[in-house]
Amino acid sequence: MKNGFVKKALAVLTAAVMTAALTACGGAAPAPAAQTSAEAGPAAEAAESAGGAIKIGGSGPLTGGAAVYGQAVKLAAEIAVEEINAKGGLQFELNFQDDAHDPEKAVTSYGVLKDWGMQVSLATVTSAPGAAVSQMYKDDNIFGITPSGSSLAVIYQDPDNAANPYGNVFQMCFTDPNQGVASADYFAGHPDLGSKIAVIYKNDDNYSSGIFAKFKAQAETNGLEIVYEGTFDDSNASDFSVQLTKAQAAEADIVYLPIYYDPASLILTQANQMGYAPTFFGTDGMDGILTLEGFDTSFAEGVYLLTPFSADADDDLTKNFVESYKARKGGEVPNQFAADAYDCVYAIAQACEAAGVTADMSASDICDALVKQFTSMTFAGLTGQSTWAESGEVSKSPKAVVIKDGVYVSAD
């Protein structure tokens, strides 16, 4: 009787584990995941908006574990649209849907946006939903540019070989591999940081393992020494004592963390608890660590990260954006996702302007015009100078920043 019950319970447990894993997935994988965007709307619908505003669609997690990214993107895009509309000239209208970082919901959102008459799109905020809708953008020939969907799967039909790009889905953020290559180059160019590298990455996450694979290849090319490779996954994302002890035992003086800031905050805290103080080096997923509620930022002191955007930059563009964002978000400093979204809207506006796009054009015509513009133009925004390849991949140089006294300072 009792054993029978325990067996039943174990069966339920198994189900619960799976649910927990899925939940955790939704919670942890969000940020720079993937986005694809496609824009456009069916011709008939677009025609209805003739003389009005160009309809920009987009979806992202406004609820759930990744909500912080979706909300940042939505708010920043709204700010950009308001600013552009206030200037007169081309007018835009934004419709941003919640996809809860769920591919299925992203497909539903896409349908809603198409019914609404979307002509251009910010695609999706995160990668997994992006990968699910890119084909639809392609089929409907709607132009999309994702602020933060960094996975290759967002822009390539064959992401493993980076082949067969959709061609009308562009990225504002770096692709994952670019960051791995840039990191390895940075280490090679700065031998003073250290020579023995340990890597801790999340092996059930495309973002993290994608960066790591490229980093490893480039590190070999550059003759860097990787002394330890540690992994973790959703069910192990709290205890890093083993990975840190191994890195310490291998005498690593750089610990490379191509992961999101949540687990990174735990790694930094646990390293501090055990008195291990190598140079920690993160990628754009590390962005956000300073705004983590309750996090002791002294643990992040001296951490390097690659990011295209620094809210502390003192150019007017950044200052104005940070100010309006803070005013609308209760003083919260915008992160890189917000900056990417803001740039996306401005890039769309710039391209529409240059191509002579008007609100009465069909989504498909707009798409053809924008693809042409994007592949030939240079866009200067919050996240630096961007140009795009025909695949939709952006080219801009990641900047290394180091955290000093709780703020980002440009590293050499």
Binding site: A24, S241, T269
Partner: protein, 291 residues
Amino acid sequence: MEFLSYLINGLGLGSVYAIIALGYTMVYGIAKMLNFAHGDVIMIGAYVAFFALTGLGLPLIPAVLLAMLVCTAMGVIIERLAYKPLRQASSLAVLITAIGVSYFLQNGAQLLWSSSTKVFPAVISSGFFSLGSLSISYLTLITIAVCILVMAGLTLFVNRTKTGSAMRACSEDKGAATLMGINVNFIISVTFAIGSGLAAIASVLLCSTYPSVFPTLGAMPGIKAFTAAVFGGIGSIPGAFLGGLLLGVIEILAKAYISTQLSDAIVFAVLIVVLLIKPAGLLGRKMSEKV
């Protein structure tokens, strides 16, 4: 040296599992039900402690006491509202209800406190001592010490007090216990209260070591602790202790010496082997007291 460091870290992790596992095992021993909402009571404890420490600015001990108070109340209320009406229902119905309560708590927390992670303040000494070239955090040792204290206290309570005897009686035969004048409903409430109070202690230890507070925080430790309880023999208090420690040590050693990717698979493989050989768990069969 490295091995010693892994062992201590494993015992630290295992201690947290053990304290959580006590909640599962006591409730199972007495009410014969699996309280899957237990992991979420830990989450509630973590949030209460977090707000007590950061919002109210309380020192550590009062914050822990407040968290225990809230968790104890939660445990009793959950039992009254969700489980008591199902006392005569099939065990599967109770199990599903427990899962429902678990989701209710997780989503309620998300609604109240949003899904974004909060970082638990470092309130327990974050020092360390050196062990050759490696270092061990004092926090790990404190966790192990608290676990041993809790175990000792609980064992004394169950064996030496009147309520403890009543609990043992209920676990053996509820009908006979009622005939002997024991208020079974009261004893079940006490069990939930103790289990949930311990969950609050576990939450503070858990969050001091892994300082992320988020609504699904209790899910994974809860499942691991439940595994530990089954491993040690569900219903048995020493079993939960042993199961928790072993699970922690196996997990850490598997990570260290076999593969960081396979550690969970190895933990569950060991569980399966143990259950094949001893279906009642390590200490499950022989225990006459099922508290």
